[in-house]
Amino acid sequence: MKPKVAVLVAGGRHPITDRFRRAAAESTALSIALRGAPSSCVVVHASHDAPDVLRWYASAADLRAVHLHIQPAADPCIPLANFVRDQGMQIVLCGIRAESGFSSGMTPYRIAAALKWPILPAISELSWDANGVTGVQSLAGGRQRELRCPMPVVVTTVARSVALPFAWARCRHAVVETHDAAGGVDVWSTRTLTKVKSRSPAWQNALFEGSPAERLSQIFDVQPRRQEQVLSTDARTAATRILDFLARKGAVEWPAHGSGDLSA
C-alpha cells in the first residue's frame, strides 16, 4: 500500500529577474512524489491570495491541488500541519527553503514540530517501504549519506534538475480546492521586504541597451581579477604552473617542490 504524500509548494522567483516561476526545490519534491506515489499525492499551498501558484504544480500531472486560504498576516504552518494531520498523510515533502517570502527555511521544521514528526532534511533522492523512508543527502566533494527514518516524516528536498511536464492548457484547467483555514499571527508579518537596491541600476541598464549578449555581459560584468598570467611559454611549464596553482588552492595534492622537474 502506497503512503499518502502531501507536497507543500510555494511560488518561485527567478533569482535575478524576480519573475514568477515554479520553485526548483518544490519541483524536485513533486517529482519525487510523482515517481513514488502519483495516485496518492496531494499538492498543498497556504496563502491569502489567489492560488495561481498551485496551477503551475498541479499541471505536472492530474493531481489534487488544495489551497488553504488564510488571513494575510496568518502563520501558514499551523493550517498546513492541521491539514496534513486531518488527511492522514504519512509523508510531507517540501522544498528546503522557499524562494518567496522570507526564505528562512523554518517552515518544514515548524510543521514537523507541530506534528511531532521527525524531519529528514536536504534530501536529493527518496524511496519508501512499509517501515519507513530512505533518503540520500548529497554532501560536499561527491559524498552521499544514506539515511533511514520511520514514517510519518517531513522530508525537505534540495533543488535538482527536474523536468516536470508542463502545459499552459492543463495549467488553466487545473482544479483547485479552496479551504478556509485559521492560523495564528505570523511574527514575520511585521517585517517589510524591500528590493535589494544594489542590483537595480545594473539591471535597468542591461534590460534596455544592446544585444542580448551585450546585456548579459553587462549583468555579469567581467571584472579583471587576473592575479597571475603565463605568456608565450612551453606547454610543460604552463602545466606545472597550473598544477602549482591548484595545489595552492587545495584542489590537488602536488609535490611540495612543485617545480615540475620530476625527472629526478
Binding site: E99, M106, A113, G142, R145, T194, K195, F245, V252
Partner: protein
C-alpha cells in the same frame, strides 16, 4: 592584562573580570526568568560549524559577529563546540567561555541529539542571542531544529549586524529587510565582522549540561563517495571544463580523471555531442560554484561566464590572449590547450600525484 578590543562600546562586564579567573555558573539556574534575576553576565552564544576540524572563514565571521553583539550589549561570548574542535584554542578568537561537548561517536551525524544539547546549553546559560551558520546542513540544521523545538524568534540570511539590529536577505536573495536582533540569527557567509583574531585573552571552559539518552529517528545507513567525474555539476567542488579549442578528448578526460575533477563543457561541445548535455556549464546548463574551475580552450561566452560567477578560483588556458575568460581568470595561460593537457597528463599520471578529496 591584555586589552580586549571590541568593536562598539567598551564592555563594562568584562572590564571587571580578571582574565585568568574562571566564572562560576550557578548550576541550579535553568530558566530564562531566573537568568534575568541573577547577577551573572549576559551571554551571546555562537555555535560554529568546524568543518574539517578547523576554523573556517565563516566560523571566524560567526565568532566576530558574536563578539560584536556581545560588545554592544556588554555581554560575554560563549562558544559551543563539539569534539572535532577539541584542539582549537578559542582564547585566540576572543571568546570568553567555551562549552566543549562530545558526540556519542566522533563526527557522527546526530542532528536530533545535537539540537537537544544546544537547547540544554541555551536553557542553562540563557544567552540573549544565538548565532548559527545559515547553511542547511551542519549547525544551520541543528539551529533550525532548536528554533522549532523551543519556538524561538529567528532571522535567517543575516548579512549585516550592528546597532541592535540585523539586515537579512529574503525571497531568494532578491529582497532584504531589517529587524531588531532576534533570539536566533542564521548568518550568511561572507559577512564582514570584527576580526576574530585580534582579541586574545583568557577564556573559561565549561562542561556541557547532561542530556537524557535520546532515541534518534534518523539512522545513518551508509556514507559513500560517488564518482567525482560524473558528479552533478551543481555539487562539484573542482571542475575541469573543455571548450571548442579541445580536439584531444581522450587526453582531456584522462587528465580530469587523474585530477579527480568533475568534467564540464561549453554549450558548443555539448551540442556537438562531445560531452553529454548534463555536463554543460552556463546559463542554459548548470550554474556552478566550484572552488576551482579549470577551463581548457574556452574563450568565455557571456552565458558561460554567467554560469561560473560563483567559482572562487578560475584557471583559463587559451591561445587567444584577448579571450574574455582569460580576463576573468585568476591564472591565465596563453597557450595551446591540447599541448598543455598532454604535458599535464605526463605530470599527473605519475604515482606521486593524488587528487585531493
Amino acid at each position: 592584562m591584555r586589552k580586549r578590543t571590541v568593536v562598539g562600546e567598551t564592555d563594562p562586564v568584562l572590564a571587571r573580570r580578571e582574565p585568568s579567573s574562571i566564572m562560576q555558573i550557578d548550576d541550579t539556574r535553568s530558566t530564562v526568568a531566573a537568568c534575568s534575576d541573577s547577577q551573572e553576565p549576559e551571554w551571546v552564544l555562537v555555535v560554529p560549524d568546524i568543518d574539517d576540524s578547523s576554523v573556517s572563514r565563516h566560523d571566524s565571521e560567526l565568532v566576530g559577529a558574536g563578539r560584536l553583539i556581545a560588545g554592544e550589549l556588554g555581554a560575554c561570548l560563549l562558544v559551543l563546540t563539539f569534539d572535532e574542535a577539541a584542539h582549537i584554542d578559542w582564547q585566540a578568537f576572543g571568546v570568553d567561555a567555551v562549552v566543549r561537548a562530545q558526540r556519542t561517536t566522533s563526527g557522527a551525524y546526530e542532528p536530533e541529539r545535537d539540537a537537544l544539547l544546544v537547547a540544554a546549553v541555551m536553557e542553562r546559560w540563557c544567552p540573549r542571542h544565538c548565532l548559527f551558520s545559515d547553511k542547511m546542513f551542519g549547525m544551520g540544521e541543528v539551529g533550525r531544529r532548536v528554533v522549532a523545538l523551543k519556538d524561538l524568534d529567528c532571522i535567517a540570511g543575516a548579512i549585516e549586524i550592528g546597532n541592535g539590529g540585523v539586515r537579512a536577505l529574503a525571497r531568494a536573495n532578491s529582497h532584504e529587510f531589517t529587524a531588531e536582533l532576534p533570539s536566533v540569527i542564521f548568518l550568511e557567509s561572507g559577512v564582514r565582522c570584527a576580526s576574530a583574531h585580534k582579541d586574545v585573552h583568557a577564556s573559561a571552559e565549561y562542561q556541557p549540561p547532561q542530556i537524557p539518552e535520546v532515541t534518534t529517528n534518523l539512522k545513518v545507513q551508509a556514507t559513500r563517495r560517488t564518482d567525482v567525474t560524473t558528479l552533478p555539476l551543481a555539487d562539484a567542488h573542482f571542475i575541469v571544463a573543455a571548450g571548442n579549442g579541445i580536439s584531444d578528448w581522450q587526453t582531456f578526460l584522462r587528465v580530469a580523471n587523474a585530477l579527480n575533477a568533475t568534467v564540464g563543457g561549453t554549450r558548443v561541445v555539448c551540442d556537438r555531442g562531445a560531452l553529454p548535455k548534463s555536463r554543460q556549464v552556463g546559463t542554459s546548463g548548470a550554474m556552478v560554484s566550484a572552488g576551482c574551475y579549470v577551463a581548457f580552450g574556452i574563450s568565455g561566452a557571456p552565458e558561460h561566464l554567467a554560469g561560473i560567477t560563483s567559482c572562487s578560483n578560475v584557471v583559463a588556458v587559451n591561445t587567444d590572449a584577448n579571450a574574455p575568460l582569460l580576463r576573468r581568470a585568476d591564472l591565465a595561460v596563453v597557450a595551446d590547450a591540447n599541448a598543455v593537457l598532454r604535458s599535464m597528463l605526463q605530470l599527473v599520471e605519475r604515482p606521486v600525484m593524488v587528487g585531493a578529496a
